[in-house]
Amino acid sequence: MSNDVESKPSEGRFIRIEAAIDKLVDDVAEFRVDVATRLTRLETVAVTADKVQVTKVSDRTYFWMRVGIVASIFIGIGSFVASIYLG
């Protein structure tokens, strides 16, 4: 008898805890869906912006762009070395 009496409240407590866990799981799931939705939106924005922003140049132009940026730096370094040697 005494066991039955004691078991009832603890059972109820377990049920409450289970319900709380279920609610927590539901909340987490909802949160994950929410985050996934937001990320998808962000991705859409990024992809859209990507399509708008990307500029295509030919391989040759791209090569000369890289040469240009390096050359412009080496012009400075060259002038520095020339200043040292020429005074």
Partner: protein, 172 residues
């Protein structure tokens, strides 16, 4: 060849506001070029312009041209709506001038005197005094790369596929 891949983390970390850097350099070269042409005898021995003091008017004209090219590049970008190869090449002469000025500043730091032969001055004094032009020269190419992130695939990937979730491009 410069390893652009190595600069991508730096670009991401710095998040440089590239337009102010480019505008600063453009205005600097406009004023410097103008002063070299109009008052060569009074301005040609400024540390940053000492390499151009041989033919100050000619170099001043070249500086003004680079400034106008940069302005045209910015205007072109405004018209087209995006940075292209044209804007890139338009901004390159300006970068070369910046590097020559920075090299000149470094030279006079090592020489421990100013271009006007004022000295000897503590090298640290000249270094701190001339730091802005050197910093501008260092930041300009990074800003240039960031501005053209949609052309340079590495820096573009850096912006569009960021770990934090594909944020909107920030190469403005």
């Amino acid at each position: 060849m410069l390893k652009l891949r190595q600069t991508s983390w730096l670009l991401k970390f710095l998040r440089l506001p590239n337009r102010p850097i480019i505008w600063a350099a453009t205005l600097l070269h406009f004023i410097a070029g103008l002063s070299l042409i109009l008052a060569a005898d009074r301005t040609s021995r400024v540390v940053a312009m000492a390499p151009f003091s041989g033919q100050p008017e000619a170099w001043g004209a070249a500086m003004l041209t680079s400034s106008y090219l940069a302005l045209s590049a910015l205007f072109h970008e405004y018209r087209v709506g995006q940075a292209t190869a044209v804007t890139f090449f338009g901004l390159l002469p300006q970068q070369a001038f910046l590097f020559v000025s920075a090299a000149s500043a470094m030279y006079f730091v090592i020489q421990s005197h100013y271009a006007t032969s004022t000295g000897p001055v503590d090298p640290l004094f000249i270094f701190v005094d001339q730091l802005p032009i050197m910093l501008l020269a260092l930041l300009h190419p990074l800003g240039l790369l960031r501005m053209h992130a949609s052309i340079f695939p590495v820096s573009a990937a850096n912006h569009f596929q960021a770990e934090s979730g594909k944020g909107v491009p920030d190469n403005v």
